[in-house]
């Protein structure tokens, strides 16, 4: 007989924990952001659907930070902050310069789609520009706060 049980899981990242990842702002390295987002999602207790949402969202966050910049000489700094209520992710593009080349129409379309995807997958998101760097951020709330 199999007894019904409730899996409580064991969060290996808890309230106040922070993970920082910095890598050159190259498109082929955005996969690193997705990999780390997946690893962190499982360690803070998100389910598989939330993990998939965050994997997609963090890639979009990187794209949002890269918008309008020539990132060839810049770095992307991702900061994951765990709290009892949510996972916050901030993506900062540092050291890049404004793009001079005109973007193609596909790129403009992708920017709008990126906004739509983030709006659907996370609870809050935004983009700010200050002191020569661009910062995009998102918040994904837990279904149930950590005890």
């Amino acid at each position: 007989m199999i007894e019904e049980s409730e899996f409580t899981g064991s969060s290996t990242l808890g309230d106040g924990d922070r993970v920082v990842l910095t890598f050159p702002a190259r498109g082929d390295l955005v996969v690193l952001a997705r990999l780390v987002a997946s690893a962190i999602s499982t360690r803070v207790g998100f389910d598989i659907e939330e993990l998939e949402d965050l994997r997609l969202a963090v890639g979009e966050l990187c794209l949002l930070a890269l918008q309008g910049s020539d990132a060839r000489h810049g770095d992307i700094r991702l900061e994951f902050t765990v709290s009892s209520a949510a996972l916050d992710i901030a993506c900062t593009l540092v050291g890049a310069v404004p793009a001079t080349a005109r973007r193609d129409a596909d790129g403009d379309e992708a920017d709008e789609l990126s906004e739509q995807i983030l709006a659907a997958l996370v609870d809050e998101h935004g983009r700010e520009q200050a002191d020569g760097s661009v910062r995009a951020w998102l918040r994904k709330r837990r279904k149930e706060p950590l005890a």
Binding site: G27, L63, D106, E109, A110, D111, L113, Q116, I117, L121
Partner: protein, 113 residues
């Protein structure tokens, strides 16, 4: 182990089929754009995009698909999308593109030319 991104091309009932395999993101989407443009430039107004081998898709990839769809329709054709993975379908749904693209579950379901 994640399969390296590549694009397979074939024909189905005389219609060109582009089948990317792997993850389509900001790094690989340009390859898909090039493949689509090339097939359309050869005079194919209707193209089938087989996404059955795709494991991830982001907004850059969707932008390429929308661009391809516009080109096909300008020529009086269509860009059919074949997809079954619920994660990929979800991205079409949250962006509303499931109402823009003709999406089917199997190549055999694409309307005959």
């Amino acid at each position: 182990m994640e399969q390296e991104f590549h694009i397979e091309e074939r024909t189905d009932r005389g219609r060109p089929v582009i089948a990317p395999v792997g993850e389509i993101d900001v790094a690989t989407a340009p390859q898909l754009r090039e493949a689509l443009h090339e097939v359309i430039a050869q005079g194919n107004a209707t193209v089938v995009l087989d996404l059955l081998g795709v494991t991830f898709l982001d907004s850059t990839a969707l932008g390429v698909l929308v661009g391809g769809l516009k080109r096909c329709r300008e020529l009086g054709g269509e860009l059919h999308v074949v997809v079954t993975d619920p994660r990929i379908k979800k991205i079409f749904e949250i962006t509303g593109l499931n109402k823009v693209f003709p999406i089917v579950d199997a190549l055999s379901e694409v309307a005959a030319p």
